[in-house]
Amino acid sequence: MNQNIEIPALARVEGEGALYVRLKDGAVSEIVLNIYEPPRFFEGFLHGRYFQEVPDITARICGICPVAYQMSSVQALEAAMGVKITPQVRTLRRLLYCAEYIESHALHIYMLQAPDLVGHESAISLAGEAPELVKKALRLKKIGNDLLRTIGGRSVHPVNTCVGGFYRWPDKKVIQALLPDLRWALQASLETVEWAATLNYPQFEQNYEFVACSRPDEYAIYDGAVLSSSGKQINHEDFEKHYLETHVPQSNALHSHSVAGTSYFVGPLARLNLNFAQLRPLAQEAAQKINLQLPLRNPYKGLIARAIELVEVCDVAIEIAEGYQPSGESHVSFKLQAGEGCGVSEAPRGLIYHRYIVDEQGMIRFAKITPPTAQNFAQMEADLWALAPSAIQLPQEEASIAFEHLLRSYDPCISCATHFLKLKVERS
C-alpha cells in the first residue's frame, strides 16, 4: 500500500465514524479514530424527567442493547431511592438480559464479525455459500428476540421494565413454551463454539488491562463489583474514582481511561478472562473441549468468548425458565425519596455504568451514563497503532479490511455506535 486511501464506509458495526491513518516517510505518524455519530444529549434531557421514565428513555440510546441501558438505569435509580427488589425480580431481569445476549451475540458473531473471517462481505453473501450456517444464526437470533418479546413486550425497546421490578409478570406458560427453542439454542451455541475454534484469526496479541463486573457466585452480567486484571477490585460505587471520561476534539463520544491515564478493555474477552471460574460447567466444558488457553489476548477472538457466553446464557435461561414461578407483586411499592445512586451491568459489548441524582419529587436532577464503547475507544486506538505497521504493508483493500476487522471485533456501538466509518490514510 503506497498511496492515500479513503474508505467511505465501515460496514457491520453500529454508529458513524472515520479513521485516519497518516504516514510519513513510510511510517505511521498519526492515527485518529473520529466518531461523528451525532451527539444526542441523553444525559441533558433526562434532567427534569420523572424517574420512572428513565428506563424507557435510556433504552433509546441503543436499539441493539436496550436491555443493558434499562438494567443499569433501574439499578442506579433503585440505589438512589432506597428500593429493594425481590429475588424473583432479579431472576427475571437476568433472564431478560440472557435474551439480549442471545440476540446481540448471534448478530455480532455471524452477521457482523464472521464474514471477515470467512472471506465474505456480509452474511447475505455468506448465505449463498453456507445457507445452513446463516439459517442457524438467524434462528438463534430469533430465539433471543422471542424471549425478549415474551418478557418485555417487544425485542427493540422493551416496555415491561420499571424501577422496582416489572410492570407485569410474563405468563409462566408462555415462558415455558420457549423451552424447546432454548434447548435448541443451547445446542446451536455449543456448535458455535466448535465452529468458532476452527476459524483462522489474525495473529495479534496485546497486553490489556481487562475490566468487567464480577461476582463470586455467578458469571456476572446483571450486576457485580468492578474487577480489573491488574488485581484491583472496587465496589461499583467507586467506579468514577477509578475510571474517567474525557472529551477529545475529534469525537462526539466521550473517551474513558483509568485514573492512571491508561486505556483498558471491556467486553466479552474481559469477562471471560476475569470470570471463567464462575462459568457454569457446560460453558467451561465447551471451552475445554476446544482447548481454550486463557487469558485470551487477541481481540479478534472476542468471537470465541461470545460463543462461550452464548452457551452460558442459554444454559442460565433454560434453568430460569424451567423454574419460573411468578407470584406476588411484579414490582415493589416504595415511597419517593431523594438520593443519589449508581448501577453497573455488563452490556453484550461491555460494562455499562449509570449514576443519577433524584429529588424528593422523583425528578432527575443529574444523570451520567458511561457506555462500553466509550471505555474501549482508547484501547481501540492503541490497537490500531499496534496493527498499523503490518497493515500498511498490505495492498490497499486488504489494509482497509484489516483495520475494519480489528474495529469490528470490538463490537463497537457508536450510536452507543454501524454505519459509517471512514478510513482515510494520508501520506506526507
Partner: protein, 266 residues
Amino acid sequence: MNKPTVAVYKFSSCDGCQLSILNMEDELLDLVGAVEIAYFLEARRRTLPGPYDIALVEGSVTTPHEAERIQQIRQDAKILIALGTCATAGGIQALRNFTSVEDLAQIVYEHPEYLHTLEKSSPIAEYVKVDMELWGCPINKYQLLEVIQAILQKRRPNLPNHSVCLDCKRRGAVCVVVSQGVACLGPATRTGCGALCPANGRGCYGCFGPVPNGDLKAVSAALSPVERYPGELRHLFRNISGYAPAFRQAADGLTEPANAPVGGQK
C-alpha cells in the same frame, strides 16, 4: 426483470429501526431474494452505486453534515421512506428543540466547542420530500414488509390509522386508565405496536406518534385527573414523539407545573 434496489441509511438514531430489518429472521432471506440490498452498512460492506428504487431512512437530521447528506439521498432515490419516529418526528433527541442545545451540551460534554450539531433535531420531511412515513420507536417490521410488498406489487400499502386504544379493546386488554387510574396515551397514539403497554399493565407513552385527526384536547382533559405527579401528561406528550406537531400542541396546551426542574423544558 432486474430486482428493485434498496438502500438503507442511518441518521441520528439508535439503530433500532434498521435492526428491525435484520430482525426479520423468518423473512430476511426471502427479502434479499426479492430486492437487491444495494446499500445497507449495518448489514453489508459491499455497496452498489445509486440511483436506488427505494431509500429507507432511519434517524433525524441533527448535524450540518446530515442536512447536506439527505439532499443527495433524495436525489438518488425514486421512493424515499422515513423509517421510525426519529425520521418522522425528530425522535427522542428532538427534546433538545424545547430547550437550548448549548445548555444540553454543557451538561454532557466537557468541551461543547468540539461538537458539530444543529440547534434542532428535525424529521426528514423538513429537509426533503418524503414519499411515505412509517412511524414507531421502533417501527413495526410487518408494516415495513407490507410497504415493500406493496411497492413490488405496484399497489397502495395497507397501513392502519386508528388509535392504540382500539387495538387494546380488540385484544381484550383491561383499560389501565379505568382499572388502575394510570395516564395512558392510547387514545392519542397511532396504532402499530399492538397496544403493548396497556397489555403489560402500564400506560401508552406514544412511541408511534399522534393518531391522525385525534382530539388531543379531549384526551388531555380526560387524563388530567389521573396524573401521578404534576406535569405527567405534559411529560407523556413531550417524549419519544414529542416534536410531532399534534403532541407538541397538546403539551403546549398544558400548563407547566410550578417549580419545574430545569432541562427538557422550554
